[in-house]
């Protein structure tokens, strides 16, 4: 049966803007956030899409004292969550049973990579030790707002935030909670920047998803959170729905720790399952917000999977990682918010930097922003290391 889950609030922070409005403007004006690294202290000069705010600025925006120990991942999450709560007009006073679900992988690594040797040698950085734990990061964000009776931290690398939707939907459908705030947050760390670099999957130029000459991804950072609730609760509190979450699919590629199978088996299963749960046919999907990292392996594998699900004439496809970079654990929710913005404002975001058609792939991604598009159903893909593949379907009401 299709899910009966409504989305009533969105919040987003990424390289293309702080908040829905700025994000929408960047998307419509093809303004990418990918550029030179400004905030991360690294020796590498690689294009990345950082959130254009310092920790100090974010703390000021949130009314958090400068001396307080809150990491960048948590600060970005707080900004996005605050926006989602405000849009949904969500009461945090105990009227409703609330869950906060934060998909993340690096957790407190941004501090651990600075202080790891201190952790081992002395007591000067003890306050950051427990912060390494991703769950501690989730609880810090939840506690900033208060009122949550369920907190959780799914972590499946680059599909973490997408998996947060599954847990949130199921907690609501089984009546464990009334409302779930779901999403993910991740800042760029030296740890994963260098890790991706050793895998030779970082492009030294702006990434070109689904392009024959694509040479890798650009890292991004950010956070996005969404308010999910049942129809009953939404009607009762007279909240205004933005769209529905109709279905999800979660499958494991079970092929390789960091590479996708050539035929995209996991992606194929995830997309099919999401469409089936939504009680739709592939032809009903109007737009695919692809995982589209820009690595040779992902885009080939994902394309093959798309062809297997949709045939040789798939719906419009674009990867908005050409705007936001690959925001890793947060990408599932960042791209969900982008998809919902597109649905509400009736446009399809472009797949930037595309020049050359992929060989053997019959479809071309969306080259320019397409306006006046009625997007009834959108499929959003998130695929992680280890073949943790998740697809979500969002539907217009």
């Amino acid at each position: 049966m299709a899910l009966d889950i409504f989305i009533t609030g969105l919040g987003i922070v990424s390289g293309i803007g702080v908040g829905i409005e700025e994000t929408a403007t960047s998307l419509r004006h093809k303004k990418s956030g990918i550029g030179k690294i400004k905030y991360l202290n690294t020796i590498h000069d690689l294009p990345c899409a950082e959130v254009n705010l310092s920790e100090t600025q974010m703390k000021q925006m949130l009314g958090i004292k400068e001396c307080e120990n809150v990491n960048r991942t948590a600060l970005m999450a707080m900004l996005a969550t605050r926006e989602a709560i405000a849009q949904a007009k969500l009461p945090l006073d105990g009227t409703y049973k609330l869950a906060f679900i934060n998909g993340t992988t690096v957790g407190g690594m941004e501090k651990s990579e600075l202080y790891y040797f201190d952790f081992l040698a002395n007591d000067t950085r003890n306050e950051y030790i427990e912060g390494h734990d991703c769950g501690a990061c989730t609880e810090k964000i939840a506690d900033f707002f208060g009122g949550f009776s369920y907190v959780s931290t799914p972590s499946t690398a680059c599909s973490s935030a997408a998996n947060a939707f599954i847990l949130g939907a199921n907690l609501i459908e089984t009546g464990i909670v009334d409302i779930a705030i779901v999403g993910g947050s991740e800042c760029i760390t030296k740890f994963h920047l260098n890790g991706f670099k050793t895998l030779l999957i970082l492009d030294s130029e702006p990434c070109r998803p689904f392009d024959q000459t694509r040479a890798g991804l650009n890292l991004g950072e950010g956070a996005a959170f969404l308010v999910l609730e049942s129809k009953k609760v939404m009607d009762e509190r007279k909240a205004k729905p933005l769209c529905k979450l109709s279905g999800y699919g979660n499958a494991c590629d079970a092929f390789h720790q960091t590479a996708s199978s050539p035929d995209g088996q996991g992606a194929y299963l995830a997309m099919n399952a999401a469409i089936k749960m939504s009680e739709l046919q592939p032809v009903d999907i109007d737009y695919i917000n692809a995982h589209g990292t820009g690595t040779p392996n992902n885009d080939e594998s994902e394309s093959q999977a798309i062809l297997r699900v949709f045939g040789n004439n798939p719906p419009k496809v674009s990867s908005t990682k050409s705007y936001t970079g690959h925001t890793t654990s947060a990408s599932g929710s960042i791209e969900a918010v982008i998809s919902i913005i597109a649905m509400q404002q009736n446009f399809i975001p472009a797949n930037l930097n595309f020049k050359q058609q992929m060989e053997n792939i019959p479809f071309t991604p969306v080259l320019d922003v397409i306006e006046n598009m009625n997007l009834q159903h959108i499929l959003s893909n998130s695929f992680g290391f280890g073949g943790n593949n998740t697809s979500l379907v969002f539907s217009k009401i």
Binding site: D133, S149, S152, C252, N388
Partner: protein
């Protein structure tokens, strides 16, 4: 949440006790140090030596314990594989981190990074079992395992799955032992791990590690250890945990007096154990309060060992004296309530009954 028709049909574990065995629960080994590593099985029986050399300990343990649970249950490809881990693949994370800092971001190799993400465990199990089904990982402090279990139970409840392999995996490297020691996780000296509760006038416990795999199915079999009747997981409750427990039992249609043992995460840490005493003092007597961390040590997913030991005790019909607060063996066990808390913020309740 009340549950119907959910059974534990297979288990596998590698811990600081005898590997791939239940002997550690009934005839445990005692240690006299604050940091105990797992006793490893002979991995040559499971992996090609060249492949084995490249795999971290936690991955080997996870795969082998998963295979044991699979073999016991007879369910070759579970519909879901879900892992809870507090810290994930620490050994490889530390190796990459150490090289990153030491060499100032130069000369790095990908191997350790590849195996560093928390979800490596669930995905390596899936690759090993060729399971394309639902796959997920949760990292949430001392209730990471319960988070994974909740995910599986919701899928069972919605009838999206009929079987699930739920695992709890953590490793405690020498460096991480030092790091957590800085924030009072461990006692400086441990006289006898089996009697760790006698040292409950100070903070800290002793460090363990482990890999527990439990195979859940919606069909009872002759292999079934126990039936999972109820589950609850909550954060910073606004009513007392005592009330929560009463409401939970009520929902599961049981009385307090039906509970033979309330199995807790007491570990000899003053602050940790005080919470259990405060919550349970008025509900249960020392004859019916149990503990298991003296067997497996303290680590973020130790509660998976708690559930394993409860399942084994239910199957056997008794809980040994060394697991009961009063020191008296509990016989004819039908219902065990597991109560676990982490820093008195995250709380979980699991109700297991005889099949």
């Amino acid at each position: 949440m009340r549950l119907e028709d959910i059974y534990i049909n297979g288990t596998g574990n590698i811990s600081i006790q005898e590997p791939l065995s239940k002997n550690g629960i009934f005839f445990p080994i005692a240690y006299n140090q604050p940091h105990i590593r797992c006793i490893e099985p002979n991995y040559k029986e499971y992996f090609d030596p060249i492949v084995s050399r490249r795999m971290s300990k936690i991955i080997k343990r996870a795969i082998v314990s998963a295979k044991q649970a699979i073999a016991e249950s007879g369910i070759k490809k579970p519909d879901a594989i879900i892992t809870g881990t507090g810290l994930g693949c620490v050994e490889d994370t530390e190796k990459f981190l150490d090289a990153l800092i030491r060499n100032e971001e130069k000369f790095l190799q990908p191997t350790y990074f590849i195996q560093s993400t928390h979800n490596t465990i669930s995905s390596q199990i899936a690759i090993n079992l060729s399971c394309n089904g639902y796959n997920n990982t949760y990292i949430h402090r001392g209730v990471s395992f319960e988070n994974a279990l909740m995910d599986a139970l919701l899928l069972f409840k919605k009838k999206e799955i009929h079987s699930a392999l739920v695992t709890g995996n953590d490793e405690m490297t020498p460096n991480y032992f030092i790091i957590l020691g800085r924030i009072d996780y461990w006692k400086e000296e441990v006289k006898n791990t089996l009697e760790i509760l006698k040292q409950n006038n100070s903070t800290g416990s002793f460090a363990g590690e482990g890999s527990v795999s439990l195979l859940f199915s919606d069909k009872k079999s002759e292999k079934s250890y126990a039936k999972l009747v109820g589950f609850d997981l909550f954060y910073k409750p606004t009513i007392s945990v005592e009330e929560k427990i009463k409401n939970f039992l009520n929902e599961c249609q049981l009385q307090l007096s039906d509970i033979d043992v309330c199995l807790t995460g007491m570990n000899g840490d003053k602050e940790n154990d005080t919470i259990y005493s405060q919550v349970l003092g008025s509900l249960f007597s020392a004859d019916s309060i149990g503990y298991y961390k003296q067997l497996c040590g303290q680590y973020y997913t130790a509660s998976s060992y708690g559930l394993l030991s409860a399942a084994c005790c239910i199957q056997k019909g008794e809980m040994p004296a060394h697991m009961i607060l009063s020191g008296k063996t509990k016989k004819e066990i039908k219902h065990i309530l597991l109560y676990n808390h982490f820093q008195n913020k995250d709380h979980s309740l699991v109700l297991l009954s005889a099949c």
